[in-house]
Amino acid sequence: MSTTGTTEAAAPAPVRQRRRLDRRWAGLALLLAAAVYAPFQLVPFHVFQLTMVLVYAVALLGLNLLVGHAGQISLGHGAFFAVGAYASAVLLDRWDLPYPLTLPVAAAVAFLLGLALGVPAMRLRGLYLALVTLAIAIFLVPLLKRFEELTGGSMGLTLAKPQPPAWSGLAEDQWLYFLTLAVAVAAFLLAASLLRSRVGRALHAVRDNEIAAEVMGVRLSFYKTLAFAWSAMYAGAAGCVYTWVIGFVSPDSFTVNLSITMLAGLVVGGLGSLAGPVLGALFVMFVPSIAQDVNDAAPGVIFGLLIIVVMYVAPTGLAGLAGRLTRKIPRKE
């Protein structure tokens, strides 16, 4: 180990960095290839599950901007997910909008709502912020029931799912999967570029040291509020795709549980890393049902225990654990 340590130190820094970047891109390309290949190998139900993982991954990518990168908390992002889902559903139900158009509208609606709520919420910190965002999640669902005309009340809305065009030769589940994959890849690239820029650095500065950030000229309220609005937009976009995939929305799909599971999933997946949201999405998708299987009477207990175990084994989340493991491998070569 000590010998590899010295050769590594001898390599000029830029070369080493380039190599690590190349490896990263190679890994991503491989992952994308696997993601494109998968729906042709799996049964429709598993394709559906994978699609839902991608839906949650988009939402968690956004939540990660706020929580992992800007260091703020939100216990209410299920609400923005619901807003996106309902925006899309109402547009499809009422105005027969072509479904691709519902995505920018749903994202914009969630963004504006996030901005409006973010301005006052982002003046708060820690526990107060947690409470206010939790309140958003609690009050939103009853509000949806109130506008029965538009939202179908507690019955919800049932919609036709997007159909695969004939040229694609795909089954419905595969088409939905690829739609979702396209949105997820776009969301990932957008977040990755954002984070590698001046804006990403400013968010990290706000997270790590507000005082120093301000001395650098980072306007705290601006970056916090926009991080909130952007994460709301991501949740809204994910909600919109959710509507496409499920073809049904009702208030019961978006309880406070969703918000809390999203945050828990992100923390377990790994805050502040790009892989975290994907791993977290797997968690959001599968752990609640695994918990249900293990113990029908108290899925919450199992769910909670699983979180504790993961945080104990991997305090920086699954992404941090994966990072530690992969970094160990080249050292042994």
Partner: protein, 252 residues
């Protein structure tokens, strides 16, 4: 360039600054000295708008600094380093330095997310500048290292690099040689002198290291218990009875 007039800051019962006034002309290097708790850092905090003064005025390049919001100070060409470090420990040294150039950039959320050509150009320029400053201060070797776990003196230099990349006109240094050994202090004095000339800087430096301050500053302001007790050339300050009294008084 900088005029501070009758500045008073109180924290509850403590008067941290009591009617302090002085001026700094463009291009000068001014030392700010005084025993512990004299109010030196508090003065810096007023200049960077961290603290509001109870009374008094601060004029910087003809502008009333007390009316400027804190985040806008950097954009006016005023940079500082912190006494006890104000780095971002989870970011690399290079990213820390790049944050010093934050106010020079224009990229917003959307343009950065979309990697528009002008964002990429701006980022290239800032990175080139940051690397140049890192090189200049001998930090190129640690650029990818997180800004923590390095020797204190190195981290202080990272802070200086971060301040410089913002292209300041007025630089405030809070105890820059604290924790350095004699050889490093001498080296730092040389670097600072050279950088000041290269960048055309005006500098106010707080330091307890008398050899350093006396050697590098043209003029010195001495505070004690929030009051200015002396001002003058290094020779005058060294002979000033009030200064000697203040330092001996605290030592006893």
């Amino acid at each position: 360039m900088l005029e501070v007039h009758d500045l008073t800051v109180r924290f509850g019962g403590i008067t941290a600054l009591d009617g302090v006034g002085f001026e700094v002309a463009a291009g000068e290097m001014v030392g700010l000295i005084g025993p512990n708790g004299a109010g030196k850092t508090t003065l810096f905090n007023c200049l960077t708008r961290r603290y509001d003064a109870q009374s008094g005025t601060i004029t910087y390049e003809g502008r009333d600094l007390t009316a400027v919001p804190p985040h806008a100070v950097a954009g006016l060409g005023l940079a500082r380093t912190f006494q006890n470090l104000g780095l971002f420990p989870r970011l690399s040294v290079r990213d820390n330095v790049l944050l010093g150039a934050h106010h020079r950039g224009r990229a917003g959320f959307l343009s950065a997310g979309l990697r528009l050509p002008r964002v990429r150009r701006e980022e290239r320029e800032l990175r080139a500048d940051a690397d140049a400053v890192l090189d200049r201060l001998g930090l190129a070797g640690v650029a990818a290292h997180p800004a923590t776990g390095l020797p204190f003196g190195t981290l202080k230099r990272v802070e200086l690099a971060r301040a410089l990349v913002g292209r300041p006109r007025l630089l405030l240094l809070d105890e820059p040689v604290n924790g350095l050994n004699a050889a490093e202090v001498a080296e730092f004095a040389g670097t600072l002198g050279a950088i000041r000339a290269e960048y055309g800087l005006t500098v106010v430096v707080v330091e307890h290291h008398m050899g350093f301050v006396m050697g590098i500053c043209e003029r010195i302001v001495c505070l004690d218990f929030g009051r200015k007790i002396a001002e003058g050339s290094p020779e005058e300050i060294q002979r000033d009875p009030a200064v000697i009294e203040a330092y001996l008084g605290t030592a006893a």
